[in-house]
Amino acid sequence: MVIEQDTTFQISEVAVSVEIETPDMTLNIGPQHPSTHGVLRLIAKVDGEKVTDVKPVIGYMHRGYEKLAEVRTYPQITSIVNRIDWVSGFANEIPFIVAAERLMGVEAPERAQWVRLVLSEMARISSHLIFMASYPLELGAATPLFFALRARERVLDLLESVTGGRFHPNFNRIGGIKPVYGSGPTTKKTSMDVPAGFLAETRDAMDKVLGTCREIEDLVAGNEIFLARTKGIGVLPVEVGADYGVSGPNLRASGTDFDLRKKADYLPYDQFDFDVAVGENGDCYDRWLVRLQEIREAVKIIQQAIDGLPSGPIQAKVPKVIKVPKGETYVRAENPKGEMGYHLISEGGSGPYRLKIRSASFSNISMLAWILEGAIIPDIIAIMGSLDFVLGDVDR
């Protein structure tokens, strides 16, 4: 195999092309590769380092959640759906629970809704911090990883102190949040409301998160090498993104303010004052910056929420054995990765007849083949990293 270095590199604006016959090489990136975030596989045809054709292969992690949901009851499904996108488990539960609530005609009390909102914003922060950690790492800078993980640890501790789980909270129940520890006579009094000291801890942790944002910004945002690697790389126009069903920060980086927190009503976001972070160019750098801004906005939301957390019950009255009446609904929510929706069809049983999951990462990476064509290998990594997908969210 002859690879001629000079044929492949674009030295600045002048494309150097030497007429040497170079056969294309098929390069399998993944399913086990440091930068595919799990088990994504790209079959890339490369000419030197330039990618002429790329075919993403997914499904190595298919766990059959949609089918599994058909043979499980509603409480059981809650514990399954938070494993879809495991870096923001809490946020996955909400649209499902809201869908079931809407079919049953119950509504969670205000306090429960606010707690849900606080915790799902925490999930957003922890998910975006993971991105802040892994993205520079993919470009070769290892240090931001530890800064981001340090702040994320605090957020996860908070999540754990309320829900008992760091990654898989399984905390939402139809009609509110998990009301009590157990259902027996003695533990009945053991409420699962937020523990004492949580609000003060949260305030503290949010300051810490903001501090980390500043540190990461210093370390990465102005770095000329980082800029050279990300500015103008992997540009995604809004129209193309919308055609592929891209959503979330990836789409907002291209310059639209499509945010379901503003546009849908699954949680009382309308009572909060926050901005939607919007990028300009839709390149890797903007995708990175939008997420950094979103962390700051999420902190803003959480600070407002813990200042005005209403008191009251955390669970509405629901029957002990949950049966959802016949009907169907679709609830969409703004997950850290993008739009997550559940299409729930119920035939009246204790489990859904069909649960279609629309997960953000699946749609986000559907345009991989389009966006990666013509890129060179280092850019593949930069672009893939900037899309911030989780394979569990892709394969389900």
Partner: protein, 165 residues
């Protein structure tokens, strides 16, 4: 954006250098304030929060072998067997009282996904979460805890944390 070329590089270097000095300070003072998120594990133990879902404890006294937990468990990793015991009436002519007794109550922690549904559904408060986490085993089969082992965990069940007003 009118920074001279290389300014961003220098700012980044300042951050890492500062962090290095901070780490030196915190190591020198032994304080490790704020910087360390982890503990020196085998020597120092991590203290989980009270609600942490570490391992499930079983109070055999309370269990009535109703099988609710085993049925509700999403991955069916609880194995229960039991039988009815007949208690002789205390006074002659009294009723024969029946009591369900456990023969077997195993939780397979290799399979459990720590969802907490079993604890939640148990109507008689026989199951509790405890934040204990040191029970890894070399063989997969040893992850199956029998009822005596589960009973032992009872001593580690913490008090419920206070609730924010």
């Amino acid at each position: 954006m009118n920074k001279p070329l290389g300014y961003g590089l220098l700012v980044g270097m300042k951050v890492t250098f500062k962090t290095m000095l901070q780490t030196w300070m915190s190591i020198a003072t032994g304080g490790r304030k704020g910087l360390q998120s982890t503990v020196n594990y085998p020597k120092v133990k991590e203290v989980p929060v009270a609600r942490a879902r570490g391992v499930i404890a079983l109070d055999q006294e309370n269990c009535t072998v109703c099988m609710l937990c085993a049925r509700q468990c999403p991955d069916w990793c609880i194995y229960i067997e039991g039988h009815k015991e007949h208690k002789e009436p205390t006074s002659p002519g009294g009723r024969v009282r029946k009591r369900s007794t456990l023969d077997r109550f195993d939780i397979d922690y290799a399979l459990c996904m720590y969802c907490g549904i079993c604890v939640e559904v148990c109507p008689f408060d026989a199951l509790y979460w405890t934040p204990e986490y040191e029970y890894s085993e070399l063989a997969m089969g040893d992850m199956l805890h029998d009822m005596d082992r589960l009973q032992d965990w009872m001593s580690t069940v913490p008090d419920a944390p206070e609730i924010e007003k």
